[in-house]
């Protein structure tokens, strides 16, 4: 361990890999000083583990119905969080639901920000009519409330998890484009961009190799902060029956079906609601912590 830390702390790294690893290590040390960010990281890590080891963690089959066991209170007959109206174990459904949530979150996180980043940096660097056209398109997407637009898209595409992801991704890229463009505008006129232009670099090399790395941190921070929103939108679509289809365990869908029993059997809707709450909080805290680590302004010196 000590040899690894000295390798990471080496002020004169001897390879690209070591240089990167050393920077990451410093970032990790900075992050560790922020207890709330560590709470967020723990929550996200638990979510990951839960999704990965769902079959081992879950106590029951999440879709097996047993009408004799329906609507049991939490902590009865080995049902940690009770059962729902079909006698399915809510704890197991929440655990398996983590897979669905993570699937949606991951797919959105690898599509929308990448697209937004591309649009934003190109728009900001090119300026002129390219900027005008791209930003007006962005404005059109921004003009509609996110959920309404997603609803419309799902209505056209048909319900289902893939279409839900597509709808969410299509509605959530504009803020990333905006963030990336704003960042690009501040970076565009800096001396180091002028220097690489002077060396004869073309626009694609400048945007890809020099501008994007500067915009990436703000976009990553924005993504983690938005993850809560993505989970909620997915849950909202599920709740309205337009996202994941039953009997697949999805948290939004579970709340939707528990709504009917909210006053007598509160746990049916509350348990998945708590899961959404905790995971959203986790992503938000993590995003706040990442801001301190990744923000180029705070690491300038």
């Amino acid at each position: 361990m000590t040899t690894l830390t000295t390798w990471l702390r080496d002020h004169s790294p001897s390879s690209r890999l070591q240089a990167r690893a050393g920077q990451a290590w410093l970032g990790w040390l900075r992050m560790r000083r922020n207890p709330l960010a560590m709470v967020g990281l723990t929550i996200v890590a638990v979510l990951l583990l839960m999704a990965a080891f769902a079959p081992w963690i879950a106590t029951h089959d999440p879709i097996a119905q047993d009408l004799s066991q329906r609507l049991l209170r939490p902590m009865t007959n080995g049902h940690l969080m009770g059962t729902d109206e079909f006698g399915r174990d809510i704890f197991s459904r929440v655990v398996y639901g983590a897979r669905v949530t993570l699937y949606i979150v991951t797919l959105v996180a690898v599509t929308a920000p990448v697209f937004g980043l591309l649009v934003g940096t190109v728009s900001g660097y090119a300026g002129g009519w390219v900027d005008q056209v791209l930003m007006r398109i962005t404005d059109i997407f921004l003009a509609f409330p996110k959920l309404i637009l997603a609803l419309a898209l799902v209505a056209v595409l048909g319900p289902g998890i893939e279409n839900a992801v597509l709808a969410i991704a299509l509605t959530s890229w504009p803020p990333y484009a905006r963030v990336a463009r704003a960042e690009t505008l501040t970076v565009r006129n800096s001396d180091y961009i002028a220097a690489v232009r002077l060396q004869g670099a073309g626009p694609s090399r400048i945007v890809w190799g020099h501008i994007m790395p500067m915009c990436l941190p703000s976009v990553i921070i924005r993504v983690t902060l938005d993850m809560a929103g993505v989970i909620l939108t997915a849950a909202g679509l599920g709740f309205l029956g337009l996202g994941v289809q039953p009997p697949m365990p999805e948290w939004g869908l579970m709340i939707s079906s528990g709504r009917k029993f909210l006053f007598e059997q509160w746990w049916v809707a509350t348990m998945p609601g708590l899961a959404i709450f905790v995971v959203s909080l986790g992503f938000n805290l993590l995003g706040d912590g990442l801001r301190d680590v990744l923000d180029p302004r705070s690491t300038a010196k």
Binding site: S12, S15, R16, A194, Q199, R205, P213, A300
Partner: protein, 253 residues
């Protein structure tokens, strides 16, 4: 024939409601292997001339010729291989997320020059930096070390002309001395032509053979080095600048 010929150069910026005339009708000629200085206070347009040569500021009037050829827009790779620039602030002229290695190998990649590893290490040695700096990030370097990296980057493509925009004004006095010595050594070794901008008359005097004093975007007076040292200036502005120069303070006190 002069290597850099600037005839009646004007640079105008459109600032919304009015036109800012940053440079007006400036002419100068720099011979090959000469070191030419531009001196003036902020807003005198001295840096704008360098930026106009590089295509970072628009040429609104007049012509600039390098080696007899008029400049093309965009400047192109041939220009990059002949003319390079060192910027004033070493804290903003290096990409904060690129290692020194990346910064120095980028021009080679753009121009398709091979043998990157050896060239990067040699470039670091040329500016008296230890090769162990190669994989550091700019924020792990001091201001003087960063400026050395910036000089090394400018020399990667082996240009004949170096445009120096206040290369030492952000540095400490002792680091300034080392950087100026480095620049002079490189000029002698490689036969470089310098066009150097500074607000410090003493620095310009130390580095340059001829000086053009500028004020409010116009050329005021051109002085040879001997005339400057002997205070043989004819315009009152050049004399004001000379009298206010920091190194006169001790004598004048």
């Amino acid at each position: 024939m002069a290597l850099i010929e600037i005839d009646n150069l004007s640079v105008h910026f459109d600032a919304g409601d009015r036109i800012v005339k940053a440079v007006q009708d400036v002419s100068l000629q720099v011979a090959a292997r000469e070191s030419y200085g531009l001196v003036g206070e902020s807003g005198s347009g001295k840096s704008t001339i360098l930026r106009a040569i590089c295509g970072l500021a628009p040429i609104s009037g007049g012509t600039v010729r390098i080696g007899g050829e008029p400049l093309k827009t965009p400047r192109g790779k041939g220009f990059s291989a002949r003319v390079q620039m060192v910027f004033q602030d070493p804290y903003s002229s290096l990409h904060p997320r690129h290692t020194i290695d990346r910064t120095l190998s980028e021009p080679l990649a753009i121009h398709g020059v091979g043998n990157t590893d050896a060239r990067v290490v040699q470039a670091l040695r040329d500016v008296a930096l230890d090769p162990t700096f190669r994989f550091r990030f700019p924020h792990q370097l001091s201001g003087g070390q960063r400026q050395r990296v910036a000089i090394a980057r400018a020399l990667m493509l082996q240009p004949e002309i170096l445009l120096l925009d206040e290369p030492t004004s952000a540095l400490d006095a002792s680091v300034q001395a080392e950087t100026l010595n480095l620049l002079n050594r490189l000029r002698a070794e490689r036969g470089l032509t310098f066009l150097m901008v500074s607000h410090d008359l003493a620095v310009i005097d130390h580095m340059c053979d001829r000086v053009l004093v500028m004020q409010h975007g116009r050329a005021v007076e051109e002085l040879a080095r001997d005339d400057l040292a002997a205070a043989r200036m004819t315009t009152s502005y050049a004399r004001t600048l000379f009298d206010a120069s920091a190194d006169r303070m001790l004598d004048g006190a």
